[in-house]
Amino acid sequence: MLQLTDVQQDALIELLNIGFGRAAASLSQLTGHRVLLEVPEVSIHLVSEVAEALERVVRTDVASVHQIFSGPVAGDALLILDYQGASMLKELLTNEPALPLSIDTSAREVITEVGNILLNACLGTFGNLLQVQVSFSVPHLSLESVGAILESLRINRRGLEYALIVHAGFRLREAEVKGYLVIVLSVASLDRLIREVEEWEHRQR
């Protein structure tokens, strides 16, 4: 695990919270319920350690929303929710009971949209910060284990070495659903991101 300094950590959380705020506003507007999204924790890991780190917190199969982003900063972004969290989130957002995810296409689609909104908001915030245009692929949802997801990432996209794991808490209608945002980056992209984050933090003072 790559250690972030306290300053870097605080700055990253603050930035992500801006992105999450934008996502929460979109979700609130869409659903008519007040949705809060918070980032309590951020950590950086080697891609090879991510599966292990995540499997400590999500033990079941997961629903993951995957988007590839490209541009001067490039990589993969994933929102990972366990099955129960995904179903609950869908129920809370649509006010309609969810069926098992394997047969509930609507639920999968809602989760995909939530991931889409969140990933766009976070990476959009990074893009604004870095003053570069990041562009995104169409979001894709898959239902498999964390290990399988990360394994396919590693095989398909060489050069990605680091991952930012962001703990995300959705709060709505007096319930809370926990999810994880995983942003996988190359060394160069990560370096650039952290440098820009530090400078942004500096400018804020």
Binding site: T94, N116, S137
Partner: protein, 552 residues
């Protein structure tokens, strides 16, 4: 997605044209709506699916501003997705959260139902620059309908499961209540019996006997309710439908509960009109009224009052039982007629009972083609029960079979009792002797046949149990009816039995008994029944009885 398709440069323009042609071709083949715009959000392409589904020709759509063509996109706030797409973002618009992007009325469905759509909106890039947007729309109407059906089916299954669990819980609770309710009167009976046995000169002997009698009667009531419930559940409850004067039924029920009401200081006021008759089973109807009344007495505190009214309303006879008792919680109101339900199922509850009475009331009323409803404004506001029965023809009903005017006597009659249970036999003998009959009692069919064959005791009436060990009562009566002696063939016979179902009664009557009297026996009824068989008695007996009367 996002795969880097390597295209070798042939010649810029030629490649562009080929790619454009191929894209158009693919778009038109696609089973989804696909359109593109430039950065000013003016429509640049419009595929065959969109033409077919919106009815808008490509020529008419291309060159128009998207929001001018479909103002609802902007009105519903979806324009920002296009701004985001121009900023490089790809968006998915789920059906659950957006319903649709472009309003397309579903063919053949009236009332402006829109096609359910799942939409993707993304940027079109050329090198580093974004040159427009692409939108792909899927028709998911069928999927949405299927999922809705699946969801409602699963919800129905869940509800069924919850109801089953609730029923099983209620049955458990009921069993606990049942054990308690059966034990309570037994405790009183056994307790007082022991006291009577040990204390020879008990001053409160009458009180003890009262308690024993009351508790035995209450347990009998309980067991009858249970049996009735079992019959209703198994569909074996049969009504003996006759023309019934409902006011008589109401009056009889009031007479039964009046002592209990008086003891609690609760006056019962009545207003019973002259009613048309109803078609029904008088006993069962009385059970209905009795249950409602005793319920009212049970839940009304001292100082309260009960009103019973019966009137005609249209084609119905309407009975209303109104009390000033503790009322019913509005939340419990829908369940008052459910089996095993009690508002207070706690072990510390103040009122006894099995929670079967009102369930039986409803079943019995419904068997009569009527309805029963309960209403209460809530706790401590009293309760109103209303029974509606269809009115029958207003012909005058026959009197009850053994309702006779004047005093009843069996003095001087000879009665042969066949009962294998010693206590039961002794009781019958005691009752009959108290009423002045001459009695011979035997324990088996064989002994009875010996006596009948002999000359020493010539019975006027035979009382026989059905469930005798050895030859049973049915076989006995068949033998008697098949006998050579005319006296035996004509001997009036009453079955006295614990087999109390209408089927049992039919079997007994078919076998040759004139009457069927279920146990436990009410002495009055027994004597009336024997008396009712009097017209069939021989002239000799009449003479003998008249002699007996003169003698007294």
């Amino acid at each position: 997605m996002g795969a880097q398709t390597a295209v070798k440069t042939v010649a810029g323009t030629e490649l562009d044209l080929v790619t454009l042609g191929a894209t158009q071709w693919i778009n038109d083949l696609s089973n989804r709506g696909i359109f593109t715009t430039n950065t000013a959000l003016v429509i640049c392409s419009w595929n065959a699916w969109l033409v077919a589904n919106t009815g808008l020709a490509a020529d008419c759509a291309i060159g128009r501003s998207l929001f001018d063509l479909f103002p609802s996109i902007r009105d519903r706030g979806f324009d920002r997705y296009y701004r985001e797409a121009l900023g490089g973002e790809s968006r998915i618009l789920s059906e659950s959260l957006h319903k649709y992007l472009i309003p397309i009325a579903i063919k053949g469905v009236a009332g402006g139902v829109e096609m359910s759509q799942s939409t993707r909106i993304g940027p079109i890039r050329s090198g580093d620059a974004i040159v427009g947007t692409v939108t792909a729309i899927d028709d998911v109407t069928e999927r949405v309908v299927m999922e809705r059906e699946l969801r409602s089916r699963i919800a129905a299954l869940d509800r069924a499961r919850l109801i089953a669990e609730e029923n099983s819980r209620l049955k458990d609770e009921f069993l606990a209540t049942l054990s308690h309710e059966i034990r309570t009167p037994l405790n009183a009976v056994l307790g007082w019996t022991r006291i009577l046995r040990t204390q020879q000169h008990l001053k409160s002997r009458d009180h003890a006997l009262d308690v024993i009698e009351r508790n035995a009667a209450s347990q009998l009531r309980l067991i009858e309710d249970l049996l009735d419930t079992a019959r209703v559940i198994s569909g074996k409850l049969r009504l003996e439908v006759r023309t019934v004067r409902f006011e008589d039924v109401v009056q009889a029920a009031i007479e039964v509960v009046t002592p209990a009401a008086t003891a609690k200081g609760i006056p019962i006021t009545t207003s019973v009109d002259v009613l048309p008759t109803v078609q029904g089973d008088a006993d069962r109807l009385q059970q209905v009224v009795w249950n409602l009344l005793s319920n009212a007495v049970k839940f009304t505190a001292r100082g309260g009052h009960i009103n019973v009214s019966a009137a005609t309303a249209g084609d119905s006879v309407v009975l209303t039982v109104r009390d000033t008792g503790e009322g019913i919680d509005r939340e419990f109101l829908p369940y008052v007629f459910d089996r095993f339900r009690q508002a207070d199922a706690s072990t510390s509850r103040r009122q006894g009972g099995l929670g079967l009475g009102l369930a039986l009331v409803r079943q019995l009323v419904e068997l009569h083609g009527g309805t029963v409803t309960a209403d209460s404004a809530g706790i401590d506001t009293g309760t109103i029960f209303t029974v509606r029965l269809p009115a029958g023809q207003s012909e005058s009903p026959p009197k009850a079979p053994w309702a006779r005017d004047g005093a009843v006597t069996i003095r001087g009659l000879s009665v042969l009792v066949v009962e294998d249970d010693r206590d039961g036999r002794a009781m019958l003998v005691t009752i009959l002797k108290n009423y002045g009959a001459r009695v011979r009692a035997v324990a088996s069919a064989a002994s009875a046949l010996r006596i009948l064959a002999g000359q020493r005791f010539k019975p006027d009436v035979l009382l026989s149990d059905i469930g005798l060990s050895g030859t049973d009562g049915l076989a006995l009566i068949e033998q008697i009816r098949g006998a050579a002696s005319a006296r035996m063939r004509r001997l009036p016979a009453i079955a006295v039995t614990a087999y109390a179902n209408p089927e049992d009664r039919d079997r007994a009557l078919r076998a040759g008994f004139q009457a069927h009297l279920p146990k436990p026996i009410d002495a009055q009824v027994l004597i009336q029944l024997i008396d009712q068989l009097r017209p069939r008695l021989s002239a000799a007996v009449k003479r003998r009885r008249q002699t007996a009367r003169v003698a007294t």
